[in-house]
Symmetry: C2
Subunit: 599 residues, 2 copies
């Protein structure tokens, strides 16, 4: 296997031959999702840096990699000796990529990038920001340079039945067309696999954790063409799609198809999730005329997908019961193992244990993201991942943070619970209670239609502020219905997001406190936006997650009457809903764990 310096040298040979003075290599694939296949891990292959986020820029004489604070340590280690400079994003003094390019290149130098990996929305800004350098888009250089590149693989697609999706594809496509509100004939071009999966009621396994198929979709009123690998769609899938009016075309044919599309018919697409390659293919016959951005936040399909229908919501509820049962059994066994003070479990063993408990349910499809099991100081890293390669044994005293989620055919879960091992001190109790109070305060809110997540964020975050602490991530993200566990367009964050809550949106609620070098506390439930029973015309959140919240570190006085009452009510509901699925011993255990506090 070549080392990084050899690979860089080889890449620079390509650059010199093709006339590039610099080349920008991002981490995404042409579908702009959270996960990519190994085939697209060009940045990782060339730089040696294996984190999920980062952009490599190579010139003929230098190279630098931009990544965020999550990866500073890992990147420093992995880039050591490569000659690639680590650029710590958002640190003062770190240049942006354009600033750096302008500082190391002569005016007029050619900066290359793969046209499949640059979204249309960023192209003009990039051109302007590096001027007087010249941006030149090209094909994929790694098809030549990366000789032992893994192939793209295609998983087998499965269709989602109406009794799970609650809506036929044809109806979804029709609604998408109507929502666009365009007169006359048009095409809508989608590259985002989760939107396509939702619209077509299809699932696959082309990337980790997200049950997606690499695909493109071109649709309009009464027409839909799905571009997917021929290996993915068996005859059942083909028949179902055909029934919904969706024709199948070969994945690799999308660009030649776009080049030949009738230039008189306008094409709409979300510029933020469509590559310049698509845009350029369309432009061949029509110039930039008749190509339009879908400026709906999240795109029209993403916007419709975010609003779960009653059948999807019932599926979520069912998934939560499965997951609640698995967690109950998991925590029971965890407690037994922890009772043994001499043979302590490792973090990664616990993530395997929870998967084992989930697997006892035949509907379990897999994890919805890489499990986080973090003891003590590890919990202070919001994106920590335990590994058997680097095992960490649980100590006798400290917080244990567990954040995992599962896919079921009818719903996706994402839950964080934090437990205290040993006896917590006053500060630990107050921090834990502040996080819990924030989580509950957001759960209890009532709000009218038209409310944005940015308005609600302080309800959770403000309780953490009262402890003089902060968490540097959002309070909530949307969750897909057996789709991506991180889904838009709504969010609950400090940052402005114009999307307002709509009935049926499923969103996480996960305030936290991270005490560097000491512990992390995060408590997370999923919420579904619903109509209030008590207050006409107002929205509320139904807490979907059904897993007991550890009460050992709760300071009841600090939690306050209102939140304590909520917690007791929640625990009562957890018990009542899960008990029918549990054996006697489990029921007794859960009854104890969900007993009233502060009485």
């Amino acid at each position: 296997m070549k080392n990084t310096q050899e690979k860089l040298s080889q890449f620079r040979n390509y650059m010199a031959g093709a006339g590039f003075d610099a080349f920008v290599i991002p981490s995404n694939d042409p579908h702009f999702g959270e996960y990519v296949q190994d085939y697209y891990k060009c940045r990782e292959w060339l730089s040696g840096f294996s984190g999920s986020a980062g952009t490599l820029v190579v010139t003929l004489f230098q190279a630098a990699l931009w990544t965020d604070s999550r990866y500073f340590l890992q990147a420093a280690r992995e880039l050591d000796g490569s000659g690639i400079e680590l650029m710590k994003m958002k640190e003062s003094g770190t240049p942006t990529i354009p600033e750096w390019l302008l500082s190391v290149l002569q005016p007029g130098s050619i900066v290359g990038a793969d046209e499949s990996l640059i979204p249309v929305s960023e192209y003009n800004g990039l051109v302007d920001s590096i001027s007087p350098l010249v941006l030149t888009l090209t094909g994929d250089p790694f098809s030549v340079v990366w000789t032992d590149r893994p192939p793209i693989f295609s998983s087998l697609a499965r269709t989602v039945n109406y009794n799970v999706s609650g809506e036929a594809s044809a109806s979804k496509l029709n609604r998408a067309c109507e929502t666009l509100g365009l007169d006359g004939d048009f095409y809508y071009l989608l590259s985002s696999c989760d939107d396509i999966s939702w619209l077509c009621n299809l699932r696959g396994a082309d990337v980790p954790y997200n049950p997606l198929l690499y695909s493109y979709l071109l649709f309009g009123r009464g027409k839909a063409e799905l571009f997917v690998s021929g290996n993915s769609a068996d005859s059942t899938v083909q028949e179902t799609l055909s029934w919904e009016g969706i024709s199948i075309r070969e994945y690799s044919q999308i660009n030649s198809y776009l080049k030949n599309l009738d230039p008189a018919v306008p094409v709409v697409m979300p510029y933020g999730k469509t590559s310049m390659r698509m845009f350029n293919s369309l432009k061949i016959n029509r110039g930039a005329a008749n190509i339009m951005d879908d400026t709906t936040p999240g795109g029209v399909a993403g916007s419709l997908k975010a609003v779960k229908n009653p059948i999807e919501i019932d599926g979520f509820r069912k998934a939560m019961v499965n997951d609640g049962v698995a967690w109950v059994r998991f925590i029971m066994e965890l407690e037994k193992r922890l009772a043994n003070t001499s043979a302590r479990p490792y973090e990664h063993e616990l993530s395997e244990l929870l998967i084992k408990k989930r697997s006892e349910n035949p509907d379990y499809l897999g994890e919805s993201f890489a499990p986080i099991v973090a003891f003590g100081p590890n919990g202070a890293q919001p994106h920590y991942s335990p590994s058997s390669a680097n095992p960490c044994m649980l100590g006798l005293r400290g917080f244990l943070l567990i954040d995992t989620g599962a896919h079921y055919p009818y719903g996706t879960t994402d839950t964080t619970r934090t437990f205290f091992l040993g006896e917590p001190n006053r500060e630990e109790c107050l921090d834990y209670t502040a996080v819990l109070k924030g989580m509950i305060s957001l759960s209890m809110v009532l709000f009218p239609p038209g409310t944005r997540g940015a308005s609600l964020d302080i309800l959770a975050r403000g309780e953490v502020y009262k402890r003089g602490k902060r968490y540097m991530h959002g309070t909530g993200h949307g969750v897909g219905h057996n789709l991506c566990v991180h889904e838009g367009p709504q969010s609950i964050r400090m940052e402005e997001n114009p999307v307002t809550f709509r009935l049926g949106m499923v969103t996480s609620n996960e305030p936290a406190i991270y005490q560097e070098g000491e512990y992390g506390i995060r408590i997370e439930n999923l919420l579904c936006c619903g109509l209030s029973d008590n207050v006409a015309g107002f929205y509320c959140f139904e807490t979907l997650t059904l897993i007991p919240v550890d009460t050992k570190a709760v300071d009841v006085a600090f939690l306050g009457e209102e939140c304590t009452k909520w917690l007791n009510g929640y625990h009562r509901r957890v018990y009542e809903t899960l008990a029918p699925q549990l054996n006697h011993e489990e029921k007794v255990w859960l009854s104890e764990k969900t007993s009233e506090i502060g009485g």
Copy 2:
């Protein structure tokens, strides 16, 4: 006196002669502030509609007036028989002004407007939105048409001493220049009288309630020219300004001065608060080159002005003591009058009574806005104003809402208190308590630097939501230091506003419940953003206002422990701060009014 139809006919003669097919007449003056002199009430003179907000559009054959829901009833009454159609803004089916113009005029028709009244920021949008109609700016048509027009009057300016302003003009001007961050020579052009008053440490009385002078200011590094009426600046003012490096020029000369300004020197100005007339004057010699928008929210001067210095904050505190004493005496007398169940006071008598109590302090300069004293259903109109012409007597039972503020040389106040006359029922208590709880929840918040008001709004509004109710206005506005009681750029509203809180910003906190046809409840304090004593690096709000909150309608259980504790602490501080200024009887009364609840 002419009636509206005669005036319109005369105005149409002018239009026909000048070649206009339509004319747009807004409500503002060339300084874009909240209040205008009678001279600028052209829209009112021509239409007969006397509300503060509204735009009249006249064509040769039609006329229509756009106003908001506050004024629908009044406008309908005042426009009756005039032939002017009332356009209810934000009601479905109401066309916008451009939509209406396009529907009634032929393409190519000429739409006129006074170039002094159109801000630069709106010009291009207006041109685009009425195309293919043609916008033509002109001088003031009312200088010809309005024969008995009142003259512009000029009040005498007074200077604000350093021991009140806490910063010399020269220093403020210098900071404004530095904040702009421009290299080389430049001019900054200001038309907003409150920014000019603050920068020049000047006050006047050219408009109601806001202690301002009609003025323009042109400044740069080491230079400042104040354009103000020669009658305004006596020799003391002239000397003080000269000492600060500010030359005085005649108010009416601003445009000829701008026309002759060196075109090589760039001119910066906030386009949202500068008229097209200024812009066009500048353009004569330079084209559009070297004219730049100040895109700082609120403009650079407004942004600096919003952050009160320690001397200004101390002034606010002193103003609050004055106002607290006046309110104590006012409420005591109010209670005595109300004890008489046969001779009830009128609303307007109570606003006069509060002014009388304030006037006992020799520093009192006047009200900071038109007092609101609203009994029962009147309180449900957020902008109600009592009047002796239309007197309303207080009933025996119901909420009495009083919202007034005062100017003192060293600070401005704005307070709302709501009292219950008679015995409140359960719903009234819960509504009152929800408003109070919202006000207190916002008062108690801790937050880090970088927090926007839009993030905090739900803390107040959310308590009102829990009652299933809403208030359709912001929770808080900035307050000037003996300047405008409504000041930007910060706010606490649902709507996104990118301005973050900075230490020293003074902002109101005024959640409310309006029950149409029944009552209004609003409780308002002013807050000053300060550093938390308890939580390092976090900001908090100091409540500046020192006036007891009526506790008759408080439901202590619903208010909750935390808010009750805050209220008791606040009342203790109100008593301790005001008591030294009170006589024995007043102290006894206040001690009773501020006694602990929920013990």
